[in-house]
């Protein structure tokens, strides 16, 4: 039955405490995960393949049995109060698991019933229209393309009006158009107060969509941070100067700054910490003038989430 008394506002909608999972094969997929998901946020779980993203999601959704630890959804323990917890959750799995002979309409209404909601043709119609599936509602699922099947899975997950939506690798193998539509849909859902947890190994997806990012690697959650703060905290800035005349090497007079030459001596690259109040740029430029090193252009850039991610994972392994 759907939960009519949601947990108090401000309380995390999903709370994971000390969650571990070792499969029968001996593989430890998750190691003591602690995670709180705030109501209404878009949370991206980022990690390489095999990091444990899908295991974490599948445990919360009830598909994989937890090892140790506790999980609650809107205050409902997922084992003891699994009915209340699961009724709030919608899951779009990574693989395109669909029925073959069912029609789009019947599979979506089936999902609504399965999750304990009374039939509501208007809601199901809305979901199908939002996903451009309405015209194909009578089509057998087997006749649909991969992208359309992905939409069907999303429609099924939304059929019972969940408060928490899990999207496991939602844009894997999806064309650009559908990816953009999906991002729009995720934002629209968030507007309505739906909490969204997505896994991805497309870093730009996390960068574009998420409010917060958790990086998972080898079953451990190595960082959970607001996206902007994560990029600020772990990001480096680079100043690149395009030189008038190429240099053979970094002049010894500039030894005080961490400099590198690039572009066959045509570019001088200065890496600095954007967080520090004194970035050292002004002194560097003054010094260059004194040394008569002229430049024709300069630009600075922030490191992308990708670089942050690669660094995080590298330092861990």
């Amino acid at each position: 039955m759907p939960d009519s008394t949601p947990a108090a506002p401000g309380e995390p909608i999903v709370r994971v405490a000390g969650l571990s999972k070792t499969y029968a094969s001996g593989l430890t997929a998750l190691n003591s995960i602690d995670l709180s998901i705030e109501r209404g946020e878009i949370f991206a779980l980022l990690g390489p393949n095999g990091a444990g993203k899908t295991t974490l999601i599948n445990i919360i959704c009830g598909i994989v049995t937890p090892g140790g630890g506790r999980i609650s959804v809107a205050g409902h323990d997922i084992v003891r109060e699994y009915r209340a917890a699961r009724a709030l959750i919608g899951l779009v799995p990574q693989e395109l698991h669909t029925d073959a002979f069912e029609s789009v309409w019947s599979t979506v209404t089936f999902s609504r019933g399965l999750f304990g909601r009374a039939p509501d043709a208007r809601h199901c119609e809305q979901v199908l229209r939002a996903l451009s599936l309405w015209e194909r509602r009578e089509a057998k699922i087997m006749t649909l393309s991969g992208g359309m099947k992905r939409r069907v899975l999303i429609a099924k997950a939304l059929a019972h009006e969940p408060q928490v939506l899990f999207l496991d690798e939602p844009t894997a193998g999806v064309d650009v158009e559908l990816r953009r539509e999906m991002w729009d849909m995720v934002r629209a859902l968030r507007e309505r107060g739906v909490t969204i947890i997505l896994t991805t190994h497309y870093i730009e997806e996390a960068e574009l969509m998420a409010d917060r990012i958790g990086v998972i690697h080898r079953g451990e959650l190595i960082v959970v941070e607001e996206k902007a703060r994560l990029m600020r905290k772990l990001g480096k800035k680079q100043l690149t100067l395009q030189l008038q005349r190429p240099l053979a090497g970094v002049p010894p007079e500039l030894g005080a700054w961490p400099l590198e030459l690039g572009d066959a001596g045509h570019a001088l690259i200065y890496t600095f910490d954007a967080q520090r109040s004194d970035t050292g740029i002004a002194q560097l430029l003054r010094r260059l003038q004194e040394l008569n090193i002229d430049f024709k252009d300069l630009h600075s850039s922030e490191s992308s989430l990708e670089e942050i991610f690669v660094n995080l994972v590298r330092t861990r392994s």
């Binding site: 039955m1 598909i63 009915r83 899951l91 999902s111 019933g113 304990g116 009374a118």
Partner: protein, 253 residues
């Protein structure tokens, strides 16, 4: 109790039945009719009466049971095996349902289909052999109980199976021999001494005997024993299914 979920699963399964109407209804009716033609109308003419019942009429309950058992098992096992095979089982596992709702949906639909089939065969048999039913209520009760129990068994087989081959092996290697040796075509009283005792270990003997008793009032074993054995089998299946869903055996890693 998640009533909407029971209804959703039940409708889903019944839709599958009606989508494959030829395979699921017409073909068992046809094959059973062939038995009636061969054993009832043709050979039966030359056979003596069994327990005072003409041979053609004698085999009616046994043949209905034969179809009921095999169809209940195959339908229910396929019903739960298909989502496992296609991967759509993830939805069932993540849904706010207990094994009770899942059972009521899947087993309810499989049993409904079996009962429809049994009734259809009963009507068809009328065209080939004359028979009568002495205890109609008992007949309906046995029909329902058997359909439900063996749908449950099929459900367990479907949960256990990891390939289509395994799915087919239990009905073929276990159920068919048990039914043929369970007195579908003869009274176990016709067996020589030691075999009669061995036959009593075959659970299908109790089903067919009880069902035949509801038709003609004659039985190989006491009807109360038949009922008790069928009920015990039913309860055993419930316990196994409950354990599977609690432990996640072959369902969850």
């Amino acid at each position: 109790m998640n009533v909407h979920a029971i209804r959703a699963i039940y409708h889903f399964e019944m839709a599958r039945t009606f989508r494959t109407l030829m395979q699921s209804i017409a073909s068992p009716v046809l094959s059973t009719s062939l038995y009636f033609v061969v054993f009832g109308a043709a050979i039966g003419q030359r056979m003596g009466a069994v327990d005072g019942v003409s041979y053609g009429a004698f085999i009616v309950p046994g043949l209905i049971m034969l179809s009921l058992l095999t169809e209940s098992v195959s339908n229910a096992s396929l019903g739960i095996y298909l989502p496992k095979w296609s991967g759509t089982i993830f939805e069932l596992l993540s849904a706010p349902v207990s094994y009770v709702e899942v059972l009521l949906g899947y087993v309810g639909a499989a049993a409904t289909k079996s009962v429809m089939l049994g009734t259809l065969i009963l009507v068809t048999a009328r065209f080939f052999v004359p028979y009568h039913v002495v205890h109609p209520l008992w007949m309906v009760a046995f029909l329902l109980l058997t359909a439900v129990s063996f749908s449950m068994l099929g459900f367990i087989i479907g949960l256990w199976s990891e390939s289509f081959e395994q799915l087919g092996i239990v009905p073929l290697m276990v159920l068919t021999p048990l039914t043929f040796l369970g007195g579908a075509f003869y009274s176990i009283a016709m067996l020589p001494g030691a075999w009669r005792q061995i036959a009593l270990f075959n659970p299908v003997v109790y089903l067919i005997s009880g069902f035949r008793w509801s038709f003609y009032g004659v039985a190989d074993v006491n009807v109360l024993l038949s009922t008790a054995a069928t009920l015990a089998f039913f309860l055993l299946c419930v316990a196994v299914v409950a354990w599977i869903f609690r432990s996640g055996y072959k369902l969850k890693s």
